[in-house]
Amino acid sequence: MPHVEVLPNSAAHIAPGWTYVVDTGYDPSKVALNPKNKKRAAAQPRVPRGENELSSRQQLAIARRIAELNRDNDPSKSIEIPGKAAVPKTQNARRIIQYQRQIKHWLDDEEAQLAQLQQAPQPRAAAAASRLATAPSRRSSTMALIPPTASEATTPGPALPAPAPAPPKPRNERDDERLLSIDASMPSSVNPAELQALLSAPPLSYAASHASLPPVDGPPRRHFCDNCGYWGKIKCMKCGAKVCGLECKDAHEATRCLKWA
């Protein structure tokens, strides 16, 4: 390999923007800097995304927007309290009154404290209590899982003539009176120990009490036009937002397109 070295002399100026480099052949890290087909690169992402997956930029934009929608006070506007404030009565009260923190700071603090507690070895009593508290939430019974009715539990399925392929409830002659009685539909009474555990469970942290994600098998997310709120039928080629038609596409590109955001 030829060795190239630029010797400094008085006549040469070091021009910004270029320099001699050793050509080592094909370098994939340089290719991305200068793509040949610029126009098509945007339309064809290297890793094809699923229909409903969002790019990190979109996810960030959504998260930021929700935070903005959910904000309580505008920190850029400070409103002074009119009149002369009375002197706080104790040092402690003065400290609390002078806090300028927002709710997010307190919630972050709480998270950090919980993380610290989890790392530190727990005293035995506390560990037992927390196990008791998490036990009921681990039972992932859903409403679809009803305890089997008495008829289901007692009658053997295959012994009976089955009219349809695999009927969910095989019938017998005593079925009608069982249907009429309400015993089967009454759930068993609550175990007192379980109830006690539920009643004495400590409060969840703020983050833990948040409702969970929508079910994966639930209906797909609905998409709306970014501009007018009608169904979003067309995807913006630049940023992936949905619009309903050409008119709204123009408005979208003029105002909200995230391409350059």
Binding site: S78, W106, P136, R139, P214, R222, Y230
Partner: protein
């Protein structure tokens, strides 16, 4: 040091209790005496929990002074309560002092001769609870104090109007859809089942801000007009009865394609006449008139009085729809009915059944037209057929929690069990107090 008993005897004196439901948007407050008199919603005062500053008349309005405000344009708010928890005590102290203490008319009390029953949202960070306790005793010096989760006190409403039973309701599922968020709270004998309580991000504040964003994008820049948009939201929004109806209504409010314009359905689309703060302080809605829109765009000569109109089409139902479909703007949560089922899934079947038979909705968002019908339809689709489902809205969803707390406070023997006196606090400190209120 005097013996403990004598201290208690002297501290048990105050017979009146300030019952305070300290919401993020409004305070619900009233003085309750322990004589067992019949209580009603009229005993409760609803006071805005904010300090507002107008850049136009250069005035600052503290809490109830807001009713004297004549110009809500660009009114900026400072709210001491964030996400339902008291965060900024500087502002909250000013509001409490302005509303309850010192000389003046209305609701006045002397803290040293009053008990305080303060309600809070569930899942409050411990540090904030501690701050609250310290301020109540060290700054305000209330004689005695009890802090608890507000919605749980709804169990102390009599089950029917005629019964005079003072025991709490056994199974009660409270859906509290308030300004900050929406919480699902299963309550057993007046105690919140902590592991089964859940919270959804969407509350009235988010809906107002969303409407503000949509109107600013589609019509005028209204990002500073929080008060006005909240008023518009309360006046015109409605919840569609089902997802099918949502699609139909969306069709009816669509402007159509280029070259294929559609006539907007004036049974849904309304024009909101914006207040100009000279002749009118409040706006009003009226059915959509396409001629007005053309006039505004200069396609038709102006006629009649000059007025600014905000046309509202799918915003009317797409905004409150977020309560039932938060995923519409990308919030990763299931809707209200799904979250209710999720919360109940950790409970044993018998409790689940009891809860679903007694669902009570409180909070201002439940006043949106169609909310209750939609909640019941959605929930019925998820609840097994053999379960009884009974969903009702409180008569006054905003004051209901306060009334429950007031009924609790009017029973002296219950109150005596839970109140902590200032002397006890001075002796044992705020950490002890925090533990006591958590385990109670």
């Amino acid at each position: 040091m005097p013996p403990k008993g004598s201290k208690k005897a002297s501290a048990a004196a105050p017979s009146q209790t300030l019952v305070l439901d300290n919401g993020a948007y409004t305070l619900k407050a009233g003085l309750v005496s322990a004589n067992g008199a019949e209580l009603s919603y009229d005993d409760c005062a609803v006071i805005p929990n904010c300090i507002a500053r107008s850049t136009r008349d250069k005035r600052t309005y503290v809490a109830s002074e807001l009713e004297h405000c004549k110009d809500f344009g660009e009114l900026a708010f400072r709210r001491p309560v964030e996400k339902g928890f008291i965060v900024n005590w500087e502002a909250e102290k000013a509001i409490w002092e302005h509303e309850f203490m010192g000389a003046g008319e209305g609701l006045r009390c002397d803290p040293s001769d009053t008990n305080l029953l303060l309600t809070e949202k569930p899942n409050c960070p411990k540090e904030l609870q501690k701050n609250c306790d310290e301020i109540v005793f060290e700054q305000f010096e209330f004689a005695a104090y009890y802090r608890c989760i507000g919605p749980a006190l709804n169990a102390y409403h009599p089950f029917s109007a005629s019964s005079l039973f003072s025991l709490p309701q056994e199974c009660l599922l409270i859906i509290d859809t308030s300004y900050s968020d929406t919480t699902i709270l299963p309550i057993y004998n007046g105690t919140l089942l902590q592991t089964a309580s859940r919270r959804l991000t969407v509350g009235g504040k988010l809906l107002t801000n969303y409407l503000k964003e949509l109107s600013s994008l589609r019509h005028y820049n209204m990002m500073e007009e929080t008060y006005l948009l909240n008023e518009i939201k309360e006046a015109v929004s409605f919840v569609v009865p089902s997802a099918q109806q949502f699609a139909t209504d969306l069709e009816r409010t669509w402007k159509g394609r280029q070259g294929d314009k559609r006539e907007l359905d004036s049974s849904i689309v309304v024009d909101y006449v914006l207040p100009d703060y000279e002749r009118a302080i409040h706006g009003h809605a009226r059915p959509h008139d396409p001629a007005q829109l053309r006039m505004r765009r200069g396609l038709q000569p102006l006629q009649g009085p000059r007025e600014d109109l905000l046309p509202l089409g799918n915003e009317r139902f797409a905004v409150p729809e977020l309560l039932f479909n938060p995923a519409d703007i990308g919030i990763q949560e299931s809707g209200l009915s799904g979250a209710i089922m999720e919360a109940l899934s950790v409970l044993p079947d018998a409790l689940k059944m009891g809860m679903l038979a007694n669902v009570v909705v409180v909070g201002g968002n439940s006043l949106i037209a169609g909310f209750m019908e939609r909640l019941e339809t959605d929930l019925r689709a998820l609840v097994p057929a053999q379960y009884l489902l009974n969903v009702s809205r409180a008569d006054d969803p905003i004051k209901h929690t306060w009334l429950g707390a007031a009924r609790f406070a009017s029973q002296p023997e219950r109150l005596r069990d839970v109140l902590v006196t200032k002397a006890e606090y001075d002796e044992r400190g705020s950490t002890w107090l925090g533990k006591k209120f958590t385990t109670m």
